[in-house]
Amino acid sequence: MVKTDFLIIGGGPAGLSAAIETSKRGLKTLIVDEGVELGGQLVKQTHKFFGHEGFYASVRGFEIAKRLISQLNENVTIMNQTTVTGIYEDIITAYDRENDLIVEIEPKYILISVGASERFIPFENNHLPGIYGAGAVQTLMNQFKVLPGKRVLMVGSGNIGLIVSYQLLQAGAQVKAIVEITEKVGGYQVHAAKVKRLGVPILLRHTIVKAIGDEKVEGAVIAQVDEKFNVIPGTERELAVDVICIAVGLVPSIELAQMAGVKIEYIPELGGFVPFRDREMRTNIKNIFVAGDLAGIEEATTAMIEGKIVGVAVARDLTGIDLQEDLEKMQKELVEFRSGPFSDKVRKGLERFFPQSAHSYSKDAQQDLGPTGKLRPIIECFENIPCNPCQTSCPSGAITVPGNINSLPLIDYSKCTGCGICAMKCPGLAIFMVQENHQPGRDLIVLPYEFLPLPEKGQKVIALDREGREVGQAEIVKVVKSSNKTHLVHLSVPAGLAQVVRSFRIPQKSDSIVCRCEEITVEEIERAIDEGYTDYEELRRYLRIGMGPCGGRTCRVITLSILARKTKKSIQEIGCGTFRPPSMPVKFDSIVKGEIDNEK
């Protein structure tokens, strides 16, 4: 039997934030989580988050998880790989998978922050292996670094569908299309813009009809739908894909809350059946709280704020200290974040529990594009979303998100020095720098870039517009590497294209093989060098290049010249590496026979 002041079921952003508040106030806090590491959904998110600095805006999700975990102190006990299986009147049971035993827990207070599970949709053959929820694909590729396939169909264009599509491209897969059944992209416009300019089509009023394959997915049939979402006959077409990724929303995981006797209500705006809670996130049972996606499908920032509210409320109840001020501060943060149009639904849903308020935000978008010929940012962020790192990162105070955080950013070009920091920080990758006629007849464009391989100075690439269409040739002028992994690539394009080009593509080299034995391509070598393998021996061990039967006869020189070009060292300096016997494949049998012969 484990006794604790405060039991937290689920160590995602909500649970961790609550634990930070109670543990720093001296309460014995126990976090039980069924995952292999703490952090919930955060551990598989590789993109920079929106919001403001106080809640880690512009920090990547998995790094936010680390920062939250680092704030836990010695009052916190963690039980990983342990699933809470039952909440009874006097006791909680949890199954510890590692030790294969049921643990009994007796807490004074409980937070249920178990998150949500993925929705599923009916279509023909939807049981086939290769059909995954978007979160599952994220877990595989970002947590365990395994790609379940090479060609993907994404179903759903909410933020999750858009983000996971982008992450699939980063991991090296192709996204053949994103289908969206309604007439409008569900997620943020800045997320949609990121995948569109890389050439991924977002097909509105389209749905999946059928998965093709016997044992596993080998293709998909998609089709157009009418206003009533019925498939229009004759519009069906086949896509050759090996993964179908379903991103059609999440459902709060209410089982434990319901078992505990928490009142459950059906509120579609919050994701379906949700537990009742008040302003302090307390349910109808005095010592049971809920927070995060379980309390209503929203996002990590609000999950963290809700978690903090719970932590403070529990600390107040158990210590008797007056914490009203801390509590109100967090409640105000929630109002601030939820004031934008994307939270209209959530506010409407929450009205069922208690009255909601919202601040007004500005819809005034930047009108002018600034002084032609000066190197300056163009901000393509036209939707009211809760985000402001552009403002807080600018060292010259040139950008403002006036009033509420959901307002649109405005820029005062007279204050801007053209440093490019905003372009590197913006989580929406929505800021581009331009300079017309930086050279006679050429415009300069600076693009935020998060892919490998990084292009090199002088390289010719194909310039793409906002829809991913080819619009001409461009030349790389400079690559500014950034520690936050959003690098700035400077492109020179024909004059007149400054407001047209928003992306580029490196001409395909994927079939130029360097090492014929191990089938290693130029592109793979370049990527490895960008990753930091700048020594020939290291490269060899990492890629197995030159370790095939030929012993590196064909590839050694080519590899060395790629290394020399990328690292700007001479081949002489890099050296030719070590040769090891045998210089050709020899049968063990022959060696053994030889040994015996020699001993004679």
Partner: protein, 102 residues
């Protein structure tokens, strides 16, 4: 190979490799990964069969959907998506609801 060798954002560590068995076949896995991740990395997508003989893969990877149930070291209904793979582990496809063990 389905392991990601390069990533623009994530560090690709090279964890210790271990051996496990899938339907009697020896396969390689990384220490610290789930059974499901190890199988997918080895190109295995079919984790079992439904009672009606349909092939079954997994859907959610967070232990909620129960499509990933497999027989692990003789025990049925193990959620392979949140159970870590261990050296020498015997993993088998499960058909239907599996045998109940005590």
């Amino acid at each position: 190979m389905r392991r990601i060798a390069f990533h623009p954002i994530l560090e690709i560590e090279k964890p210790k490799t271990i051996k496990f068995f899938f339907e009697g076949r020896e396969l390689e896995a990384f220490e610290g990964e789930t059974i499901a991740a190890a199988l997918v990395a080895n190109g295995i997508d079919v984790f079992g069969q439904t009672e009606h003989s349909r092939p079954r893969g997994f859907y959610c990877a967070i232990g909620k959907c129960s499509s990933c149930l497999m027989i692990v070291d003789g025990v049925s209904n193990v959620r392979s998506c949140i159970t870590l793979v261990k050296d020498g582990m015997q993993v088998e496809r499960q058909v239907g609801r599996g045998e109940i063990t005590w």
